[in-house]
């Protein structure tokens, strides 16, 4: 069996239709992607880099693909309004596979460009041509599949020297009344000494359908730029997500990537950071809270290709019930890259004997004069602390909740936006209290228009 086959067949049958409804730029790469997929297979559980995760099963489901670009409901902002209190953002939506702007999008006008590929291909053809598909590797069959079928995406561009006043918030929503796979795609180019903060959150509004988000994000951080990219998933048990984020860091750039999974079904996140300039700063953070049958696999790779760079990586998992967590982190320091400082950590808490964690820290260093470390630990809640709290009258369940929350507190505190930090503390508190078991729990805190 090969789950890819149904999608390749679909492409072969509908190539003309797909291309006709897409900007020409996207069509250019489809041929190569098609070639790569010819003999490709999706990784099965147990294969290299997929010790705990089976992609074949995820893609084997019979998902609908919206080749015809049929419009779904009008404006997602009408039904879904996600607010972060005290944070004034420019808000954009992806409803299933289609991009929507919103009224607040006007705020950064003249500073930051946020356009669907269909517009950007006309407005910024050189930039699109120079950066689209350049970082993402077609050797990964999921990236190749995205490239094969993608028909639109979102282009975010911050010109040289521009410091975006307001964060960009991108709310991705699944609400189609059918099982569906989408190829979401982001291209983010941040110019020299420019700066931007982005918050992407994945939500699922219809808990009864199977969805698969097979997304690719490419981020280019030019000299001296600063980028915060917060990627938060809060979906449903029937939602699957395979995400590949590629980052290209130039000299003096400062990039923070934060991958947060609060509620999901199946998730595989790939983070791939290429550090190509000196004096860069890289923060790669992650937090996973999983219970029930949730499956979360974060796979990270930071390649130090230049001297005198600093990277810090920390992923924390809190797993309960039958949840499965996986983490793999590889840090590579290439030859002739002295004075690199690279730290990696993965700490995990298993709240139940049935929860499973797989972790694989890796360092590969080919230069002498560097400072690197990695550490990984899987443990249970501190029994002594639990008892201490109970003698003060705090119930066992409340004590567990407080300790779990405390465990991930440093990841939340790594967020470089105060309003978002407060919001995350609140969401995580609700998550552990069990009132955020699905998106409906979140929406209680959101305003419904």
């Amino acid at each position: 069996m090969n789950a890819l086959k149904q999608y390749i067949d679909l492409y072969d049958e509908s190539q003309a239709l797909i291309e006709q409804q897409s900007p020409a730029l996207l069509n250019k790469l489809r041929g190569v992607a098609r070639e790569r997929l010819q003999d490709a297979k999706l990784p099965r559980k147990g294969s290299e880099d997929y010790e705990a995760t089976d992609l074949e099963t995820v893609f084997a489901h019979d998902y609908g693909v919206n080749v015809n670009r049929l419009p779904f409901e009008a404006d997602p902002a009408e039904t879904f309004h996600c607010d972060v209190p005290n944070m004034s953002t420019c808000l954009y939506y992806t409803s299933n596979d289609a991009f929507h702007s919103s009224a607040t999008a006007e705020r950064n006008i003249g500073q930051v460009v946020v356009e669907p590929f269909s517009m950007a291909a006309v407005d910024y053809p050189e930039l699109m041509d120079a950066y689209y598909g350049k970082l993402a590797s077609l050797n990964d069959p999921t990236v190749a599949l995205n490239t094969l079928l993608v028909q639109d995406g979102l282009f975010i561009y911050v010109p040289d020297g521009v410091v975006a006043e307001r964060p960009i918030q991108l709310v991705n929503i699944f609400n189609a009344a059918l099982d569906m796979m989408v190829q979401r795609r982001l291209l983010i180019v941040v110019g020299k000494n420019a700066s931007i903060k982005l918050l992407a959150c994945d939500h699922t509004q219809s808990p009864d359908y199977h969805y698969l988000n097979n997304q690719v994000v490419e981020i280019v951080a030019m000299q001296g730029s600063t980028i915060d990219y917060y990627d938060m998933e809060e979906s449903t048990p029937l939602t699957s997500r395979v995400s590949s984020i590629y980052v290209d860091q130039h000299e003096g750039s400062n990039v923070l990537i934060d991958g947060i999974t609060l509620v999901n079904g199946f998730t595989r996140n790939n983070f791939h950071v290429e550090v190509n300039g000196e004096h860069t700063e890289t923060q790669l953070l992650g937090m996973t809270i999983a219970s029930g049958e949730q499956h979360v696999d974060n796979h990270t790779f930071i390649s130090h290709n230049a001297p005198r760079c600093h990277s810090n990586e920390m992923f924390k998992y809190v797993l309960d019930d039958n949840a499965v967590g996986a983490f793999a982190g590889k840090i590579l320091v290439k030859p002739d890259c002295p004075r690199v400082e690279a730290y990696q950590g993965n700490r995990n808490l298993c709240g139940a004997p049935t929860a499973k964690m797989y972790t694989k820290p890796q360092l590969e260093i080919y230069t002498d004069d560097v400072m690197c470390s990695h550490g990984s630990a899987v443990g249970q809640l501190d029994e002594e602390a639990l008892f201490y709290m109970r003698t003060r009258g705090i119930s066992s369940s409340e004590a567990r909740r407080l300790l779990m929350q405390a465990f991930v507190a440093d990841i939340i505190d790594g967020v470089r936006m105060d309003a978002l930090k407060d919001r995350l503390h609140y969401l995580v508190e609700k998550r552990f209290a069990g009132t955020l078991s699905n998106c409906a729990g979140c929406m209680a805190a959101c305003k419904k228009k």
Binding site: A385, R392, G393, I394, S395, L402, L403, A409
Partner: protein
């Protein structure tokens, strides 16, 4: 208030308490002394419901309730408090959050409304002053990075907040310098009333100079082998435990 009858308990199949009998009435201060390994800390752990210990026999009633049938948190709600010999550090949980949760869980148990944030902070301020606990400590994580003396003061602060009916002070004097000892003891004395009782577990007479006991008991080999008035503590200070050990061992 508290009646302990022939209490037996073990840890990992090793019997530590071998039939403890003790009755405590409101307003009383009991000191429990004894050589190392006699079961003093085990007694406090069993009374507060530490899951590491197994009760193998006997009974404990607290205001007529079967204490051993209650969870640790419900024992706390009923008014039992343990000041730990080694208070536990809980990184990431702030003192404020910890204390507010504890207070409100107790109020819920009592059928009362939760405290408002303003009332709670006012109460914190008030009780903090009893043991001269710095505001900075109150805003940090529970016991994290506290010195030995600060940890013990923090225990008494929590006791002041929770207003227990029975406080068990387990080696509260260990690791304290003389000034900290005075502060802690004066905190305990301030909180003392005719309605609550205190069990002081200690090795030394020193603490009993500050917290005056009504009764002194000697725990040895898992049993209370001698009970008398405060003068017994002075005698022990002078003569040590050997004479009691000999007396008990020769009887066996």
């Amino acid at each position: 208030m508290l009646v302990i009858n022939d209490l037996r308990a073990s840890i990992e199949d090793k019997e530590i308490l071998k039939g403890v009998n003790l009755t405590v009435k409101p307003g009383e201060v009991h000191a429990i002394m004894g050589p190392n390994g006699s079961g003093k800390s085990t007694l406090s752990a069993v009374l507060t419901g530490n899951p590491a210990y197994t009760v193998t026999g006997g009974s404990v009633s607290f205001y007529g309730k079967d204490l051993l049938a209650l969870s640790p948190e419900d024992r706390a709600h009923e008014g039992i408090f343990l000041s730990f010999q080694y208070p536990v550090e809980i990184p990431g949980v702030s003192m404020v959050n910890f204390m507010r949760t504890a207070m409100n869980e107790k109020r819920k148990y009592m059928g009362e409304e939760p405290l408002s944030a303003a009332d709670f902070l006012k109460l914190m301020r008030e009780k903090r002053s009893i043991v001269q606990l710095d505001n900075k400590l109150a805003s940090r994580a529970v016991n994290e990075g506290f010195s030995g003396g600060e940890k013990k003061r923090n225990e008494i602060f929590q006791m002041a907040m929770l207003e227990p009916r029975l406080s068990i002070l387990d080696e509260t004097d260990s690791g304290l310098d003389i000034d900290a000892l005075r502060i802690v003891a004066s905190g305990v004395n301030t909180l003392k009333s005719k309605d609550n009782a205190t069990i002081v577990i200690t090795h030394y007479q020193r603490l009993l100079d500050y917290i005056k006991p009504d009764f002194v008991h000697v725990l040895y080999k898992g049993r209370i082998v001698m009970s008398a008035g405060p003068e017994l503590a002075l005698e022990l200070e002078e003569k040590g435990y050997d004479w009691i050990k000999e007396q008990v061992d020769s009887q066996q």
